[in-house]
Symmetry: none
Subunit: 250 residues, 2 copies
DNA sequence: ATAAATCATGCAATATCGTGCAGAGTCAAG
DNA sequence: CTTGACTCTGCACGATATTGCATGATTTAT
């Protein structure tokens, strides 16, 4: 059996079963576990799956909806948010994407800072109630999974803005595949905002590293600042340090 | 079963049941309690859950702003909201104004009803996350006091809609001056929505009766339904019963 | 206060991992 | 045909991860 054939079978099986156990595959293909491990390692590098101890899982585990994400690693997100808030200068126009990590950025922003803040997330907008900042809400069809406006109306409204900083939210980052997310419309909106912004900054928790989602947003070299947890394993962050314009640890 | 898979299941179960009992999980996965305890310990360290004696609980999601609004909601508003929700039919396009009373209407709406809901309030939009309804968010400059979109962009977006019902929020109602509110831009938006809607309904708590705010929204005779507390004094409501198209007590 | 349940820790057995190395096969240039 | 570069594969070996058990401490319930 050809290697590429075998890897195609592994992909198919992963899609079917939702998991891969290295030992099982070795028996099934009558190969050493080493070979399977090498397959899994290479496929993980190519973003086809997520390597875990004992086997592999699909890259985009269907698990975390917004609610469970709200409960995740809030301490880490608070630190990222505080570090990101330090990048903001009075008088700027900043665009804040949706997501719980960006919500922590909002909480860390000084309430009395004179700013203009644009967002297409009603959740982010609701958090800005007590801030002095002028808030521009981008409307559109609300995409429920991540609770952001999408569609032509949102794109048109974004066309009116020239943000100084775009705080981008993404579900996955990969050394070669860059930043990506799960929804087509959402990705289109994020690309549009990034294209109009002077610089794009993104806050990333550790579990997003090495993952790939279906829809591309931007390459790592296009991002002016990656804010990552200081607690990350050096070998996890190493491949990104090569390409990133600037990495800020929080 | 892979370790990371098991932990994902624990997360999912926690989100679903709201709690984890270590012993139960051990039997369920056919593993020693030590392993489960180690999982819980590590996941707690990662901020995924809160460890307690005997098991684990979800990390309390701190959404102070929305929470404080929830605590403000009174029984009266809940009753008004439930009554208003009964007016909504599947398939309709309804427009929901901002305000805590309309928030109760949203909570009373069946989550599985097929609807299109438009709103210019990010707070209302955020509450619709779990509903099946299609949500259209109206963007614009956010008016902080009542947290609704205003301005030309909002007006333009509203021009695209033909709502079946507009659930209007107002700060004051008066027998001769009708419905009014405190902000000029806000009043203009409300008038625009009402003008395009087949009918306008408003939910009113007792303290708003007899008051007048600077900016006129609509006369009482223009409102298809006034939803008022059944507990109101008859002499307070009497002047309105003359002019109103329909009064619904809740 | 006492018993039962739950917990943290250390330890040992097993599983899995990464890496280096060597043999077998492939392919193209000489 | 031969040679050398290359890839794929299996094996060895030390490192790391996972798990169950034993032990003693701590917490909870009665």
């Amino acid at each position: 059996m050809l290697t590429s054939q075998r890897r195609a079978l592994i992909s198919a099986r992963l899609a079917n079963d939702g998991q891969i156990v290295a030992g099982e595959l070795a028996r099934e293909f009558d190969l050493s576990e080493d070979t399977i491990r090498r397959d899994l390692r290479d496929m993980a590098a190519a973003g086809l799956l997520k390597r875990v101890h004992g086997g592999a899982l699909p890259v985009t585990p269907p698990l975390p909806d917004l609610e469970s994400r709200q409960t995740m690693s809030t301490d880490v997100k608070k630190r990222l948010g505080r570090k990101a808030a330090e990048l903001v200068r009075a008088g700027q126009l900043i665009f804040i994407d949706g997501g719980t990590t960006n919500a922590e950025l909002v909480r860390a922003l000084p309430r009395d800072m004179a700013l203009t803040i644009a967002t297409h997330s009603p959740v982010i907008a609701a958090l800005l109630e007590k801030h002095r900042a002028e808030v521009i809400l981008i409307g559109g069809r609300l995409y429920k999974h991540s609770m952001v406006s999408t569609g032509a109306a949102a794109l048109a409204a974004i066309g009116m803005l020239r943000p100084d900083i775009f705080f981008l939210g993404a579900t996955a980052i990969h050394p070669t595949h860059g930043l990506s997310t799960g929804d087509y419309e959402e990705a289109a909106i994020k690309r549009a905002i990034a294209a109009r912004s002077a610089e794009t900054v993104t806050l990333l928790t550790e579990e997003k590293f090495g993952a790939v989602s279906p829809h591309h947003i931007a390459g790592i070299e296009e991002i002016a600042g990656l804010i990552i947890p200081a607690s990350m394993a050096p070998e996890t962050s190493a491949p990104y340090r090569q390409k990133a314009v600037r990495i800020i640890e929080a």
